[in-house]
């Protein structure tokens, strides 16, 4: 990979990778570290990226995801990566800002549900792209997304109800 190619790849994908890392880790500093490690890996091991196997965007997200999961597993050594439902109580809408509550709810998801949801909802990636980035089958991605949304509906129930009422759609 030449200097120019690397620079192009960085300029083109840095925001996507940073936003994903930021949402996965919940920390700006950790996200910067992950982006740094991700592009360093691309610079040093550019040969590991094979365009025939998928887009560079999917490859970079995959690398960042693996680094994030590694970091999360170190921080929370005893948490399961994936479970059926989150056990958190619904968030109290009175005490927190709405965006903060959404952040808290997404952070409460198991990591494998969280990464699928972030890529689908915030980065508008297709099921195929998510499957490539996460190294999972499309059926597994669908299942994770389904469970993630169910969990979020439960966690954010108070906000969804008030939102429905505010827009006149709540029955």
């Amino acid at each position: 990979m030449t200097d120019a190619e690397f620079r192009d790849a960085y300029v083109c994908h840095k925001d996507l990778v940073y936003r994903f890392a930021r949402r996965m880790t919940g920390s700006g500093e950790a996200a910067e570290d992950l982006v740094h490690e991700c592009f360093l890996m691309l610079w040093r091991n550019a040969a590991t990226y094979d365009p025939a196997r998928g887009s560079l965007r999917g490859f970079l997200i995959g690398v960042t995801r693996n680094l994030a999961l590694k970091r999360l597993s170190k921080e929370r050594a005893f948490d399961e990566l994936e479970d059926v439902t989150a056990i958190c109580e619904p968030i109290d809408p009175v005490t927190r800002e709405r965006s903060e509550m959404v952040e808290q709810a997404v952070a409460a998801l198991p990591p494998l549900q969280r990464d699928a949801l972030i890529l689908a909802e915030y980065e508008d990636m297709s099921l195929e792209e998510i499957a490539q980035a996460t190294g999972a089958e499309i059926a597994a991605v669908k299942s994770r997304l389904h469970r993630a949304r169910e969990n979020l509906r439960r966690l954010l129930a108070p906000l969804l109800e008030t939102k429905g009422a505010a827009y006149g759609t709540h029955k």
């Binding site: 620079r7 940073y18 610079w43």
Partner: protein, 107 residues
């Protein structure tokens, strides 16, 4: 299991926005890359390191030990070859004439 799209949930989720990558990150990533590409060969010779796979490292170590062993064995002083004695022209004496010399005769 189909992922159920839920516009209301999606709209709510979009309320959580995160910023794009900060400018400081550009410097951090691109500087490091620059430092890596401009590294001169003599600096590499002084400070560089190379990674080799364990099997290759072990093979090299075994080879070096074998060569060192062979060198040591070659330099060890070898025992002189025994002198060969040929008995082809040996003839036993026909008459043995033993002369006894007494002590007082010798003086």
């Amino acid at each position: 299991m189909e992922p159920t799209n839920d516009p209301k949930l999606s709209e709510l989720l979009r309320e959580w926005q995160v910023p794009n990558a900060p400018g400081s990150l550009d410097r951090r990533v691109l500087d490091l890359r620059g430092a890596g590409s401009n590294k001169s060969w003599w600096r590499f010779l002084l400070t560089g390191s190379v990674r080799i796979p364990v099997p290759v490292g072990l093979a090299i170590a075994v080879l070096l030990l074998a060569m060192a062993g062979a060198l040591v064995l070659r330099q060890q002083p070898t025992a002189p070859a025994p002198l060969s004695v040929s008995l082809v022209e040996f003839r036993p004496v026909k008459d043995v004439n033993v002369r006894m010399i007494r002590g007082d005769e010798a003086n």
